[in-house]
């Protein structure tokens, strides 16, 4: 059996088995599903990582490609590396679900959604891949369990925007082959599709309710695990139709970054700040896609992969903080930090990684972005505004950290401004 077909079949079979176990709806079955998922996901990851896809001379093996009548599925080494990371990420989600069984997330549907997502990256022609992306989004709708957190509106918006991106991606994928670039504004079509798919301004509106109400596991799935695959789909299209930076794309990325700064300034709860930090990373990742480089390499996706790492750390920290039922408002976090120092440290380290602070994994991505801006002709106002927004979000994070660590009770910055004084 060709490897791409084997991989997709294995994913769907494992998802089916887990779904059958999930149907039992008992606490033991839920834990067994999570354990089986972690083991199955880990096993698949190990199998995929050890596969040989090319000959000693570097030519692709015939088994790495499956040609049907009208389409071809091909697993390249860079795509295999991305698949390994996605499967490992899903196995980590299963482990987190084992630790936090009450967090709403349907693991089988999340795994089933990975199959069309990976197929979208493997398939030629790319127009079929756009359809597979929407099928994946529809399965993610089930995985997010919106009824458990009153999120049907937010999830609906995610589905609508992903579906609206598909026709644009199909047209963008069709245009280079048809050599009809002059008929439609191809660069703008690709930029709009990327903004719709990757949560650029003004299409990020579904993210805040997701991060404010859903389980951090759901946010980790939708904003940490899926975007690298979406970016891997968009990057070759961008390279084909967009030789230089597009103003629409830049404005969308910058708009998202500025919205993140506004959200950080108005943040009241820990989750608001988490949403702001993540939204900042979403905008900066969108801008990072415009940097020159090999669109098929894993290095081009590194900002998205680093976001997954930051979200994993901060999400795990948030789950630990919320597990104890401690207060969620920012000015009450000093108590949280004293009671759960490890959880608070995990959350803050994850957030600092998302903004790209030094000594965190995220710094690599931010440094690459700054170096890229230095090497290419990016408008100065874009750089200044993006750095200003970054500074605002970092200030809010530092404020939380300093308030939690140093200020004695009643004299913190939050206490002075936000806590209502007792009536005389």
């Amino acid at each position: 059996m060709p490897i791409p077909l084997l991989l997709l079949t294995a994913l769907l079979l494992l998802a089916l088995l887990l779904a059958l176990a999930h149907r039992l709806r008992t606490p033991i079955a839920a834990r067994a599903t999570a354990v089986a998922g972690a083991l199955g996901g880990g096993g698949l990851t190990a199998w995929l990582a050890t596969l040989t896809l090319t000959t000693a001379a570097g030519a692709p093996l015939p088994a790495a490609t499956w040609a049907a009548a009208d389409f071809t599925l091909a697993l390249t080494p860079s795509l295999r590396a991305l698949s390994v990371l996605l499967l490992a990420g899903w196995a980590l989600l299963a482990l987190l679900k084992l630790r936090f069984p009450r967090a709403p997330l349907q693991l089988p549907a999340a795994l089933a959604a990975l199959a069309p997502l990976l197929a979208a990256l493997m398939i030629t022609p790319v127009t079929l891949g756009a359809v597979l992306l929407v099928i994946s989004a529809a399965l993610l709708v089930v995985a997010l369990q919106p009824h458990a957190w009153d999120g049907s509106g937010s999830v609906l918006r995610f589905l609508l925007l992903t579906t609206l991106a598909a026709p644009l991606l199909i047209v963008a994928g069709w245009l280079p082959a048809a050599a009809a670039g002059a008929v439609l504004p191809t660069a703008h079509i690709t930029a709009l599709a990327a903004a719709l798919l990757l949560g650029g301004f003004p299409f990020y509106t579904w993210m805040r309710p997701l991060m404010a109400r859903a389980s951090p596991l759901a946010a980790l799935l939708l904003l940490g695990l899926v975007p690298p695959a979406l970016a891997a789909y968009v990057l070759p299209l961008r390279a084909a139709v967009l030789p230089t930076a597009d103003a629409l794309w830049q404005l969308s990325g910058l708009g998202t970054v500025l919205a993140a700064a506004l959200l950080a300034v108005t943040a009241v709860t820990l989750r608001d700040l988490w949403a702001a930090v993540t939204l900042l990373d979403v905008g900066l990742c969108l801008l990072a896609l415009l940097l020159p480089g090999d669109p098929t390499s894993l290095a081009a996706l590194s900002p998205f992969l680093l976001r997954g790492g930051g979200l994993l750390l901060s999400g795990a920290g948030l789950l630990l903080i919320e597990e104890t039922g401690l207060p969620a408002r920012l000015h009450q976090q000093r108590a949280n930090m004293r009671q759960r120092p490890l959880a608070a440290a995990l959350f803050l380290y994850g957030c600092f990684s998302l903004v790209g602070a030094p000594l965190t994994p995220g710094f690599v991505g931010r440094w690459a972005l700054l170096a890229g801006w230095g090497a290419t002709a990016v408008p100065w106002w874009l750089v200044v505004l993006a750095l200003l927004a970054l500074a605002i979000v970092v200030y809010q994070l530092l404020r939380l950290l300093v308030n939690g660590l140093q200020a004695p009770a009643g004299e913190s910055m939050y206490d002075k401004r936000d806590v209502p004084r007792p009536q005389q």
């Binding site: 709708v141 609906l156 598909a166 069709w174 009809a180």
Partner: protein, 236 residues
């Protein structure tokens, strides 16, 4: 038995509906899109969606081989069936009945919300604009020649009104119907560019999966859950 052997073939049906082909089908598609966007009542909107799939099938015949065009019709019929069962299961109704004005027209009662007024204004602006602008050569989409100007009108109308419907609706059912309307418009456009069977199957699968996702979201909205699993009354 004789009736079975003399049952009209696909081509007989197309011949029978030939009076609707071309511009009338495009206009019919536009009217159904208007009704879906206004979304007065789910039954009326669903009937409009069904009619839209029938009329769009006549437009697909201008672009695809009839045997392929009929696949689009069957997909549409199944999608309508899925939406019908969803709406029936969830006893679908507007989420906030207190903010609704009701207009009685004989046996028919048309509920108007603030959102419906917004939709009406949007439709009143968009529909004439599409009808005026679609015949212009500058707005002719690639693949649609002058002989297919009616398809151009249908594509622009369906895409525009579909986008309006999903932009002004917060509820999964009306927004979903708007999305399906938009997708029909896109499929019409793309059929002029690419007639491959793989893409036809992929777009059919897309319609089914989206209808399922819309059904799932409709079932999981709070109003639907409250209707299906009512809470027992409290002591007071």
């Amino acid at each position: 038995m004789n009736l079975l052997f003399n049952f009209p073939t696909l081509f007989d049906w197309i011949e029978w509906a030939s009076f609707l082909r071309g511009q009338p089908a495009a206009l019919l598609v536009l009217v159904t899109a208007v009704l879906i966007t206004l979304f007065w009542d789910w039954r009326l909107a669903l009937l409009a969606l069904l009619t839209q799939y029938l009329a769009a099938a006549l437009l697909f015949i201008d672009l695809l081989e009839p045997r392929l065009a009929i696949v689009k019709l069957f997909v549409g019929l199944f999608v309508c069936l899925m939406i019908y069962w969803t709406a029936r299961q969830t006893a679908w109704r507007l989420p906030k009945p207190e903010g609704v004005w009701r207009l009685r027209l004989g046996p028919l009662t048309l509920p108007f919300t603030r959102g419906a007024l917004l939709r009406l204004v949007g439709v009143l602006i968009l529909t004439p604009a599409v009808m005026l602008l679609a015949p212009r050569a500058a707005l002719r989409l690639p693949g649609l020649t002058a002989a297919l100007a009616h398809v151009n009108l249908a594509v622009l109308g369906l895409a525009g009104l579909g986008l309006l419907a999903l932009a002004v609706s917060r509820d999964p059912l009306p927004a979903g119907m708007g999305l399906l309307t938009f997708l029909t418009g896109f499929e019409l456009f793309y059929s002029a560019l690419d007639q491959s069977v793989a893409m036809l199957i992929a777009l059919a699968a897309l319609n089914f999966v989206l209808a399922l996702a819309i059904a799932y979201l409709t079932q999981s909205r709070p109003a639907s859950l409250a209707a299906r699993y009512p809470q027992p009354a409290g002591p007071d």
